[in-house]
Amino acid sequence: MFEIKPMLSALWRNKISALLIAVQIALTLAIVSNSVTIIQERQQKIDRPTGIDVENLIGITFMPVPTEYDMAGAVVADLDLLRSMPGVIDASVTNQLPLSGSGSASGYFLEPNQEIGDLTANYYHTDPHFINTLGMKLVAGRNFREDEMKILGAHDNQISDVAIVTQQFADSAFPEESALGKYLYSGRDDHPTKIIGIVDRHLGAWPSWNLAGNVVFNPMLITGNHKRYLVRTEPGQRDAVFKQLEDKLAERDPQRVIHVETTEENKRQSYSGDNLMIKMLSVVVGLLTFIVALGIVGLTTFWINQRTKQIGIRRALGASRSNISRYFLVENSIIAVTGLTLGGTAALIINEAIANNFSQPPLSLSLLIGCAIVLLVVSLTAALVPALRAANISPATATRSV
């Protein structure tokens, strides 16, 4: 019924055009499947839980004008002020802002006086309010006590007695047992830092870092030439609090320059590269599919115009409308499947290349097949319009001689 053999020989006579469509479909599958893989990976990365209350956090950075400045005193006064503001849940002092792209990391050893074999982690110098301020969950151990806070100069030896770490860091440092009560050391040093608590999750300052999630918190205030605070507001209060912060802090002490930013904005900026990649690749995928569909419509229309008479003759000889449209749909399927087979192979080869050269994620077979099915449907839909029109060609065409 499908007249596969005459159809194939008709295709063979139009082989260049058919091949061009197949090549388009092949290239499209190769590009689309690889793009979708990258899009998926980036989206998963952005969607990772941060472990913190991103929507309600505000970061403050200030720099005093005078060179001689009582930083420790200012921090106590500022935090009292911040915590007393209506709409504020809690506030902490910190050396870095989460998800901001700017922060510090250090190597940690599990034995004293080591030179090699350290684990790198992003670290915070903060205070006992940090768990509540960031909205994290303590899964084991305890929080810092006020008396564990160390106040140090910018160039003092900044080693803490106690630390809280993320579950991820705890697991990579002590895969076999609980990290609670274990000790960490700096390189070439024997001062122990005891792990007293574990929080479930925190991505740290650089969400795109390959070790993001390895975070160590220390109860410490470094009196450098600038300081940062984190403020967590009640839901819905962030923007109202945000507006007052600079004025309130300047009112308490005008001798400084203050910068306020939301963690949500920091997060957006940190992921802007990934976001750009997602948007650009989505546009490419969309346009490409559209272009291929246009190409198929154009060429199928052309073929049908070329064969108007032939179609008329077939109709006159008893072919039904559905026979005619089915003919063109089956013909299109043959081309599309050829293209998709070629394209699937090309997709895997290209993926191999970009995975090796540009550190992009591997392509899964199920995704490749999914994309192929979508493209097949697009191709058939594109062919459907002219195919239905072909079915409307009158059998009388056959008898018209000129």
């Binding site: 260049i16 055009s17 061009l20 469509i21 090549v23 388009q24 290239l27 499209t28 190769a30 590009i31 690889n34 793009s35 990258i38 720099m63 005093p64 004008v65 005078p66 060179t67 030179e115 090699i116 100069g153 910018a154 160039h155 003092d156 700096s186 390189g187 070439r188 040093d189 030439n225 600038h226 400084r256 320059v257 910068h259 900026q269 802007s272 590269g273 976001n275 750009l276 990649m277 948007k279 650009m280 690749l281 546009v283 490419v284 346009l287 490409l288 272009i291 291929v292 246009l294 190409g295 154009g298 060429l299 052309f302 115009n305 070329q306 970009i354 540009f358 992009q360 001689s401 000129v402």
Partner: protein, 443 residues
């Protein structure tokens, strides 16, 4: 004859408006997508120091951990990007380079006597005086500071033209005093607008960030306990015995100073290489530089490549865009073939009337070229739309990158015409080879 072919092409395009629009749209979309990506990549890879590429070198010394080589995310040449403070000050003593710059980024609070100007934090570049000469930074007023200011604390400052405008309006502020971190600094110079993109002289702190607002002499480190507002990497946290506080930081193995030299001749470069080799040998004797002797002098153009200013995502996008264009070309081949074959009878008549195969081929190739030209013009519009989209999606620094210059406008048209000529090659050849007699008979 070309004019005749062009008028025929336009007539033919008008004759099949839908198919023509389809082809022009396909080429335009392909060109728009690829030019958007290529423009960003082109602007990203620009070398603002092109004109001094052969004489400038970024200096790297391998002073890193004997246990493992320097490695930052797999990029670079496994030598630290920056120098330690002690190495930088030692290199500064060399008299071989025509100019040399040790520098890093920092920030100062700025206050003035004028109560109208609110205190602000200014991004500062702490640098030696040669900075302006070495990187060809033009002065609007005044000039750089005295040589002595690079070693002994001198409260001098050079302002960017925007900072000058912010504090003093359009006035020449040379000789005026501003407070930086509460200390009085005398303005010795104001530079013209200078904002190279990418910021090749400092790729560590955002390759597309704006240039600094103030420039401060290198001799002030101890006075202000200046550290780097940028990458600061160390491996030996122990430090020297008995030295504590800021002095320990200056004598540590932390790398945080960027170093550039200007070497005017090959001989000068050889001498300088020898100088560095000797320096490292001498340091080795004192127990430092325990890794194999290694250093690098890198020209700006290579420095951009080494730092992967054009990141991997951009490369993936570039390939993706070119593949997209390829699909558009294949699409155009198919549609042109359909269009030309439909006009085969006309070509047959022309052949009968004396047109050679070459004429028919040229006529159709020119028709493809016209489609490309129109597609290219539409593609430029789409590129502008795409770049506007990128500016919306990215942060401030990228604004200057997502811009089309004239070279890119011409490149867009050239790409479109090239793509469509390529696409037209086979269909035009095919139609020129068709036996005319087939089409001359009725039916």
């Amino acid at each position: 004859m070309i004019g005749y072919y062009i008028s025929l092409a336009m007539r033919s395009l008008r004759g099949t408006p839908i198919l023509s629009a389809l082809m022009i749209a396909a080429i335009a979309v392909g060109v728009g997508a690829s030019m958007t990506v290529l423009t960003v990549n082109y602007m990203t890879s620009k070398n603002p120091l092109e004109h001094k590429d052969s004489v400038l070198y970024a200096v790297q010394l391998d002073s890193w951990d004997p246990n493992e080589s320097y490695n930052r995310g797999g990029r670079g040449n496994q030598i630290p990007w920056q120098l330690t403070y002690q190495d930088a000050t030692a290199l500064l003593r060399s008299e071989i380079p025509a100019r040399q710059v040790a520098m890093h980024r920092f920030g100062f609070t700025v206050t003035t006597d004028d109560s109208q100007v609110r205190p602000f934090v200014a991004n500062a570049r702490v640098t030696t005086r040669d900075f302006f000469g070495l990187f060809d930074v033009p002065f609007k007023h005044g000039g750089t500071w005295e040589k002595s200011a690079d070693e002994t604390p001198t409260l001098s400052v050079v302002l960017s033209s925007a900072t000058n405008a912010k504090i003093f309006g359009e006035k020449n502020s040379v000789g005026e005093v501003i407070q930086l971190n509460g200390e009085p600094f005398t303005v010795v110079g104001v530079i013209e607008d200078w904002n190279p993109s990418p910021k090749v002289h400092d790729l560590n702190n955002g390759a597309f960030n704006d240039s600094e607002e103030i420039y401060i002499p290198f001799g002030l480190h101890r006075k202000f306990e200046i550290h780097s507002w940028g990458n600061n990497n160390g491996w030996n946290s122990g430090g020297n015995e008995g030295v504590t506080g800021y002095e320990a930081h200056l004598q540590s193995e932390s790398v945080w100073i960027q170093y550039w030299v200007e070497l005017d001749s090959a001989a000068q470069k050889r001498d300088y290489e020898e100088f560095i080799t000797n320096y490292i040998r001498q340091q080795k004797e004192q127990g430092r530089f325990q890794r194999p002797l290694k250093f690098a002098l890198t020209q700006p153009s290579e420095w951009l490549v080494l730092n992967e200013v054009l990141d991997q995502d951009s490369r993936v996008l570039a390939w993706c865009a070119l593949a997209f264009l390829l699909v558009c070309v294949v699409n155009a081949v198919a549609l042109l073939l359909a269009k030309f074959l439909r006009k085969a009878p006309e070509a047959g008549v022309r052949r009968a009337l004396g047109a050679g195969r070459g004429s028919i081929f040229t006529q159709h190739l020119i028709e493809s070229g016209c489609i490309g030209l129109l597609g290219g013009l539409a593609g430029i519009v789409l590129t502008l739309v795409g770049l506007a989209g990128i500016r919306v999606l990215t942060d401030d620094g990228f604004d200057r990158v997502a811009q089309m210059d004239w070279a890119m406008v011409f490149a867009a048209i050239a790409l479109a015409v090239f793509a469509s000529l390529l696409a037209g090659l086979y269909p035009a050849w095919r139609i020129s080879r068709t036996n005319p007699s087939v089409y001359l008979k009725t039916q």
